[in-house]
């Protein structure tokens, strides 16, 4: 994947498929610790210990038409290439948490990329899910919550084109401000 935000888009779809009603995406950039951490946490149906073991070992899919899945494997490869790791924790009936760590300044660390576009596509894909996207950068925090937007919209659907455009601008603007005007990466 060319951007980590694409891995996020891909892996969060597992949470949607698992029937989650609430999905947290938390990105932490701690430059003093040289750490980039991406956490995806859902309240979906979770995995059995046996499935979890296989997810941590090989390409796994829950589909019946096909035996392999690449989403987690690609995300793990991106983390390990950048001196980091990926851990999947899960409990049946409770949910799943995927934690990817990267060395922030590693030359092979893929740029985070356009998280605003990823959020728009996720809202489109699963308008009924409550998404929380939190981005921490050197002490500052930006948070976006679809629950808040739905409260304001009342009966207007959150996946209307105009609202999706608004979400893209809102998240893009919020992140730009968090980074102090310019994102320090080239993608």
């Amino acid at each position: 994947m060319q951007e980590l935000s694409l891995n996020v888009l891909d892996v969060v779809q597992n949470s949607i498929t698992a029937g989650a009603s609430r999905i947290l995406i938390e990105i932490t950039e701690d430059l003093s610790a040289n750490l980039l951490k991406i956490v995806i946490e859902d309240n979906g149906k979770g995995m059995s210990p046996e499935t979890l073991r296989r997810v941590n070992e090989q390409f796994v899919s829950s589909r019946s038409t096909r035996k392999v899945g690449m989403g987690i494997a690609l995300f793990r490869a991106a983390a390990e290439l950048a001196g980091g790791s990926l851990v999947v924790e899960s409990e049946e009936g409770r949910g799943t948490r995927v934690t990817a760590r990267f060395e922030h300044d590693n030359i092979d660390r893929v740029p985070i990329g356009e998280m605003s576009e990823t959020m728009v596509l996720l809202v489109m894909r699963a308008a009924e899910v409550d998404f929380i996207y939190r981005h921490c950068y050197n002490g500052g925090v930006y948070e976006f919550s679809t629950e808040q937007i739905k409260q304001i919209l009342e009966d207007v659907p959150i996946d209307s084109y105009e609202v999706l455009q608004y979400i893209k601008q809102e998240t893009h603007g919020g992140l730009t401000e968090l980074f102090g005007g310019v994102r320090d990466e080239i993608s």
Binding site: M1, L6, L9, D10, Q13, R66, G69, M70, G71, L74, E117, T118, V120, L121, M124, R125, F144, Q148, I149, I152, L153, E154, V156, S160, Y161, E162, V163, L164, Q165, Y166, E170, G173, G174
Partner: protein, 123 residues
């Protein structure tokens, strides 16, 4: 959130729109493959281009949705266009530029962009 007023304005605008939405069987549908293979091949910028172009041209009767992998990963990004009363058209190896042309030629002017279709690639 910074601009709550802006969101309220959008809400009121949508609520006050006269319902020009056509019946479901009259709607044009665009379906984009968004599984791991599609995303890796560049489906997200294609989707963004469709959304931007449809919003720009105010084509409210067109719905865009996402689907999974259909087993032709090497042809991704794949986009299906369903126009009511016509056969489904499958476009392959899409780019944002091709997406803009599909909206303009196929959806607005009803001319299928033959050179981007799966059929033309097999010849």
């Amino acid at each position: 959130m910074k601009s709550v007023e802006e969101l309220l304005a959008i809400k009121n605008k949508i609520k006050n729109q006269v319902d020009v939405r056509r019946e479901d069987d009259q709607r044009v549908r665009i379906v984009i493959g968004m599984a791991t293979c599609g995303i890796a091949a560049g489906a997200r910028p294609v989707m963004t281009a469709f959304l931007d172009e449809l919003a720009k041209r105010n084509l409210g009767h067109v719905t865009v949705s996402q689907t999974g992998c259909i087993g032709m990963c090497k042809l991704e990004p794949i986009v299906d266009v369903y126009v009511p009363g016509e056969e489904k058209v499958t476009y392959i190896k899409m780019t944002p530029e091709k997406a803009v042309r599909v909206v303009n030629d196929h959806i607005v002017n009803k001319n299928v962009v033959t050179e981007y279709t799966i059929g033309s690639s097999e010849k």
